[in-house]
Point group: C2
Chain length 535, copies 2
Amino acid sequence: AQKLSGGIGSKLCGMLVHSKQVECGREWGCRLRKSQNVSAADFFPDLLPAMDGDIKTMTFLQEVVDILLAYVVESFDRETKVIDFHYPNELLQLNNWELRDQPATLDDILISCRATLKYAIKTAHPRYFNQLSTGLDMVGLAADWLTSTANTNMFTYEVAPVFVLLEYVTLKKMREIIGWPDGRGDGIFSPGGSISNMYAMLLARFKMFPEVKEKGMSSVPRLVAFTSEHSHFSIKKGAAALGIGTESVICIKADESGKMIPADLERRILEAKQKGFVPFFVSATAGTTVYGAFDPLVAISDICTKYKIWMHVDGAWGGSLLMSRRHRWKLDGVERANSVTWNPHKMMSVPLQCSALLVREEGLMQNCNQMHACYLFQQDKHYDLSYDTGDKALQCGRHVDIFKLWLMWRAKGTIGFEAQIDKCLELSEYLYNKIKGREGYEMVFDGKPQHTNVCFWYLPPGIRYMEDKEERKKHLHKVAPVIKARMMEYGTTMVSYQPQGDKVNFFRMVISNPGATYEDIDFLIEEIERLGQDL
Amino acid sequence: AQKLSGGIGSKLCGMLVHSKQVECGREWGCRLRKSQNVSAADFFPDLLPAMDGDIKTMTFLQEVVDILLAYVVESFDRETKVIDFHYPNELLQLNNWELRDQPATLDDILISCRATLKYAIKTAHPRYFNQLSTGLDMVGLAADWLTSTANTNMFTYEVAPVFVLLEYVTLKKMREIIGWPDGRGDGIFSPGGSISNMYAMLLARFKMFPEVKEKGMSSVPRLVAFTSEHSHFSIKKGAAALGIGTESVICIKADESGKMIPADLERRILEAKQKGFVPFFVSATAGTTVYGAFDPLVAISDICTKYKIWMHVDGAWGGSLLMSRRHRWKLDGVERANSVTWNPHKMMSVPLQCSALLVREEGLMQNCNQMHACYLFQQDKHYDLSYDTGDKALQCGRHVDIFKLWLMWRAKGTIGFEAQIDKCLELSEYLYNKIKGREGYEMVFDGKPQHTNVCFWYLPPGIRYMEDKEERKKHLHKVAPVIKARMMEYGTTMVSYQPQGDKVNFFRMVISNPGATYEDIDFLIEEIERLGQDL
């Protein structure tokens, strides 16, 4: 019999050691030794809910917390690697990640926690610039730990009284900030910006053709949606899912800096109408993913008003600039939108995920999505049913994403969010100014970036003066991927790159971590030059 | 100037106290006092990433953890209330939940955490039976805390190397358990069973008519889906969203115990075909929400094979019985399904949310959903791109839901999950046997429940012998809501109730918390009788 030290399942294992083991064949669809004498009713691990499990539980959780606290402190330390990178097949070998039939010991669980963090990306690291969501807010983290501990669901007031109220309070505040009178309207926290955008498209379609809910797309004329060629791919993904089809998403031209050209929007709307199609949805982007461009919302809303089209603003990335008195002018006109996506998990550093869809019209979400499930939304409950908001969601169970945002807002105040957003924008301006005229750099588009996105090419000395433009382009296309791969292997920093249209691979630097400093920007540039000079 | 104690934003506030304050009007869409002299670049709260913020951070997080540990221990204590219930308008008054412009102190943040937990439902409480997801697993909780701390995103291997591998390992294991050869196939963890079911419907449609992705529903004939009248409302919600329409979801009759009647399914398929519609999707339910019934999967799969229809199994609730050698026969035939929804956050007590969609055909999800966003899924990366699974999702950013399931599986082994599932089923059998012949109880359907759902009416003495059946029914309909309201006011226990079809309000007891005992079942019955005897 195998030796088993104390910990989870040790009592069970104690029984197993003495029980007769037989082959169970394919009963679990996999090889397993069957223990005939296990009585489930007798089974308890040593942690809670086991009798007298509280001391052991607190010791175990405290040990995990100690591991986590050490990781947090280490993550902010510039002397630490952003990542200890290994290729997938290597990583599979570095630890035993397999799932087994038999229980493990508590020590093994702690070892697994340490291994998981050892090979994780330190997303809080001040030199991790790879995604739109970076950094780690300590109050947000505390709030997320509390959320896990409360372990409940957003569908009814009954099971999430506080969280439902906090969602109500926070959505109202966000609508006030958008500029809707008295913060009136509706909204929901959804699992990410793509789903928020899909909600908006769903609402726009339902608003124009409510019969679509029962009768489907065969009951309506051909619908077309419009968004800029620089917009997020979720608009097309949403159209594919909703049965609208990606060909019915018309991509509007953007200018050099990535903003939608309103005249092209109007032209394409007219063109669609002439073909007998029905324009129902315009998604303007406030902060495009790559360039960080803000579409001209006032001009777009004039067009939407003129042609009676639902105006959505995808502010997943740029919506948070509404918190900044210095930068919110970039979203002028947002108050005229019918719906707004705004992801506090990006520029406001709220832990993942936290995405809101805000809707101007009250009651529409409910009508669009409700199915009256009587086992959840009983109409004869003893409290105000308007707080049972679950039926307006596409989801049934919905994760509590509100508490981390709410608690951070309490901690910082609106003014604290503003300060950290302004700071990130100052850092990106610093980067822009630093490389704009620097030898070996070319900007992807002219002019000061509107968000924290700074898009640029780094040209290693060897190709700076290449005469053959095609040859140079071909070479340049390979530079960013190699530098990025080296960054990851050294683990010193991480930044994103991509091609766009006919532009070869360029770096897209974004800053959303308020822990980054001018020195970190300097470091990034030095690192790019160090890793790229021989290319 | 206001007095501000140390903590978050105290340095900022220090500055503010001395700065000139002016009205900013509607700049934030709400009243706010503008501080002209705030320099964002100077702003740092005292916690990390502030210089030397580590001691303060660790102290703060430890204080939060102490609050959480106390809450955990209290949650398992039967002497504690399940809920300290207050009506929404009362709860709004009991604490200051408002969001402010100014920062709070750390002390205020701790007070907010305590208040939030004070009024929360103790979902770990052994007498909380209200939802399909109950209980709190200590290893799952630890894993969720680690997930929050790692704060990353599932879209690429680059930003979530370990989690992406663990998702791969776990999905494969789940497919093996379903019975697909060598665990081959595909899958994803999604934000809940409704979204998993929607994915399945999306895949079924794409498989039959791949052109729908580009051309939308106008390019395809009228599609119809089939599911039992007892199935979850997410099937209709999904059909509404995907542009199929709720009228194209045909509800198949269920027998007395809630199982779909295969003969009725075949009849309705033929009827639909005669009308020229195209049957594309059958969703069989393994564990219905209210009765816990398992549709006969073998008979249904025969029909699906015969008519070449995608067979989906919604095992959100019942899928976990596959982990039990004693109960997995209830899902016989599941290996013939094209897709399976399985929510480990229900019967396996994984913290919310953790829902998987498993798909038999490899590559289909990718083809169905991919949009090739080049800023995320660069094709010239230095590692094996098959681990960049983000493009097969409807979401862009995707929360890490895998680690809690994986770590729990390590801790318990397959055998530990089996034991806890078997135990919950034993408890429900105990409840069923206890009340089956007891005076004052009527079962909603005959026979032993197949899952842990026990559906019953409690008849207070005053109506037990009422002769007027209509009058009795009317009276009985009001009994469960009143008892439930009283349970919540006393905070002693919570159980769900609902009407179904022509059946008036009845209790639906479910057990998914392995911390519950026979004594808790006895307590529930005593409590129902104590609170309901005067009705």
